[in-house]
């Protein structure tokens, strides 16, 4: 489950999930709903593998989203499907998507950066919650 929420000049991403792996998948999907108008129209035909080291789950979340944003901007890729395994020492993830095609995709926001402001990754009664604000 994920949603965008309002924030002064920018946008917030929020995800809730039963486990940490799904949480990281959902927050990534949420990021791309902010970037692309119809994330479901993005075909998962090309993959990028991402490995990140780090024990702090909040920083790991920022790093994961930052890496996706990097591939989006530097390689012109947009993603719609993700697989993540979060461990005690980091994460291994794969993102599937395709090159941006202006004929089929409409971009809505240029996300400049993933911020640390009110960054949250925490346990809830039914699983996990993540919140992160993106600078646009």
């Amino acid at each position: 489950m994920y949603e965008l929420f309002e924030h002064t000049a920018d946008l917030g991403l929020r995800a809730t999930a039963p486990d940490l792996d799904t949480l990281f998948v959902d927050i990534a999907t949420c990021l791309f709903t902010a970037i692309v108008e119809d994330v479901m129209a993005v075909r998962p035909v090309q993959d990028v593998r991402i490995e990140i080291e780090g024990a702090d789950t909040e920083y790991l979340l920022v790093d994961w989203l930052q890496r996706l944003l990097y591939h989006c901007e530097a390689d012109h890729l947009i993603f719609s499907r993700f697989d993540v395994q979060v461990t005690d020492t980091g994460l291994i993830g794969t993102a599937w998507g395709e090159p941006f095609d202006p004929a089929r995709h409409a971009l809505s926001h240029e996300v400049k950066a993933i911020t640390y402001h009110e960054l949250k990754v925490k346990r809830t009664a039914d699983g996990w919650l993540a919140e992160v604000i993106v600078d646009i």
Partner: protein, 486 residues
């Protein structure tokens, strides 16, 4: 961010309010917010004043933590924030005090055209600009530089592109720091940042960035306006953009490397986003070298945007840009940290002046003001919103006495993007602007809604305060007639 600021705001004078050091035990200096009573009411509505207090806790901070009248909430530092730190007193450098968009800034290009020359050509002109200048998300530029070239460009600044025929040497004299911040180290910039920047130089970007065709609407100081080459009804072009993905990545990389700095250097931070390190530490020095390189990229980006603008004007009007008098008035950075000499408590010191959404405003006689303007002061370019106005000001002596040579940078947001979109629903912003005499084109449906005039405070009120406080003085008010947005 949540809720209104309920702390003390003591009146210093008609345009300045103080958050006293006694407000919080961790504050090292007072907070000073430049505002009048009307603006203060909206300033209290969010936690931006608390952020002014947060900045007052930074090691090595001098005099006070300042905010300009366009203050609004930002990451770590508020937007409109100014702070100076002394490296000799353990003063810190903070990427949050510069912002994600390093050397976001504005330049104003003059023309010898008047409103009557362009008013029947506006649609053609705006279309020409819109289809030539890449704007919005996902757009690559017409200029591609490989890794080696991008690093050289960051070392040399706009001279690099001017040497390739994309401008003239006198453009440099009319750019802050002559378009090249010394001691930039392109090798301190990560490969990821270079890759993000290699196709983006000469692109506008999105968000609040814009290119506007404007006319001089009113002249407030005829002598200074004459020195700047501005007169009533003259057509100008204002460009607002920064260092694109390259700068954002440099900021990100620094925030990652600063994660362990508070523990390592014994700094207690009230907000994680205020991450900082002593300016004289390995982490601090690396960020400074990379930030300067990204700033040089920002000057280059605006130079290439200007070059493309000149080409479009030449094509539309069938005359060379030189013949159209399209000289650069000035280019200012409003997201930057610079090592500058200032007098603090009677002593001259080199301090790190952080300007985040604040503009350098050096007065007449300052050696860094270009010779052409030294008798009157540095031009200060203040972008407003796309329906009302922007301003040209001139640096004044009060800035050196009160704010480490700084003034405001714009209007400041009044509505969130979501609130602006809601307010725009069912309306045609483009048509509304047209009724006001503004032809606007945007690459995204959301661009115009989120950036509509009502999303911003009235820039005239912001400018009134800095004028009265003598940080910078009014020269000319500019009215938009053509807008391109990301």
């Amino acid at each position: 961010m949540k809720g209104a600021f309920t702390g003390p705001l003591e009146k210093v004078d008609s345009c300045c309010y103080r958050i006293p050091k006694s407000y919080r035990p961790d504050m090292r200096v007072d907070g000073l917010i430049f505002a009048n009573e009307t603006l203060l009411e909206s300033i209290r509505k969010d936690q931006a004043p608390e952020q002014v207090a947060n900045v007052a806790t930074l090691p090595g901070i001098q005099s006070a933590s300042f905010a300009m009248p366009d203050i609004h909430w930002g990451y770590g530092f508020c937007i409109g924030g100014v702070c100076a730190t002394d490296p000799a007193e353990g003063g810190v450098i903070s990427p949050g005090g510069v912002g994600y968009d390093i050397n976001c800034g504005v330049r104003l290009i003059k023309t010898n055209l008047f409103l009557s020359d362009v008013k029947h050509r506006m649609r053609e002109l705006v279309k020409g600009l819109f289809y030539t200048i890449p704007a919005g998300a996902g757009k690559s530029g017409a200029y591609r530089y490989d890794t080696t070239e991008t690093r050289r460009l960051m070392g040399e600044g706009p001279r690099f592109v001017i040497n390739r025929g994309l401008g003239v040497a006198r453009d440099l004299e009319h750019t802050e720091a002559l378009g090249r911040i010394d001691d930039a180290d392109p090798d301190a910039v990560s490969d990821h940042a270079v890759k993000r920047g290699s196709e983006q130089c000469g692109t506008l970007g999105s968000g609040n960035h814009f290119l506007e065709v404007q006319v001089v609407d009113s002249v407030f100081d005829a002598d200074v306006a004459a020195a700047f080459g501005l007169e009533l009804n003259q057509v100008c072009v204002m460009i607002h953009s920064g260092s694109r993905g390259l700068g954002y990545q440099v900021c990100d990389d620094a925030l990652t490397s600063f994660r362990s700095a508070p523990a390592k250097y014994g700094i207690t931070l009230p907000d994680r986003q205020l991450a900082c390190a002593p300016a004289d530490s390995p982490e601090g020095r690396k960020y400074i070298a990379a930030m300067r390189a990204a700033a040089n990229y920002g000057f280059c980006n605006r130079q290439l945007l200007m070059h493309q603008t000149r080409e479009v004007f030449a094509e539309v009007f069938g005359r060379s840009w030189e013949d159209l008098g399209m000289d650069l008035l000035y280019d200012v950075a409003h997201n930057i940290a610079k090592l500058e000499e200032h007098t603090v408590e009677g002593r001259k010191k080199k301090v790190w002046v952080h300007r985040k959404g604040a503009t350098r405003a050096f007065p007449a006689g300052h050696p860094e003001v270009p010779e052409a303007f030294r008798a009157v002061g540095q031009p200060v370019i203040i972008p407003g919103d796309m329906g009302r106005a922007s301003w040209v000001l001139v640096g004044a002596s009060g800035s050196m006495e009160r704010t480490f040579g700084s003034t405001c940078h714009g209007a400041g947001r009044a509505l969130s993007r979501t609130a602006a979109k809601l307010k725009a629903s069912g309306r045609k912003i483009e048509k509304e602007l047209e009724a006001r005499g503004v032809i606007a084109m945007s690459s995204s449906r959301m661009g115009l809604s989120e950036e509509q005039p009502a999303a911003y405070k009235n820039v005239d009120h912001v400018v009134d305060v800095v004028h009265e406080a003598n940080l910078s003085r009014k020269v000319a008010r500019m009215r938009p007639i053509g807008v391109i947005k990301g």
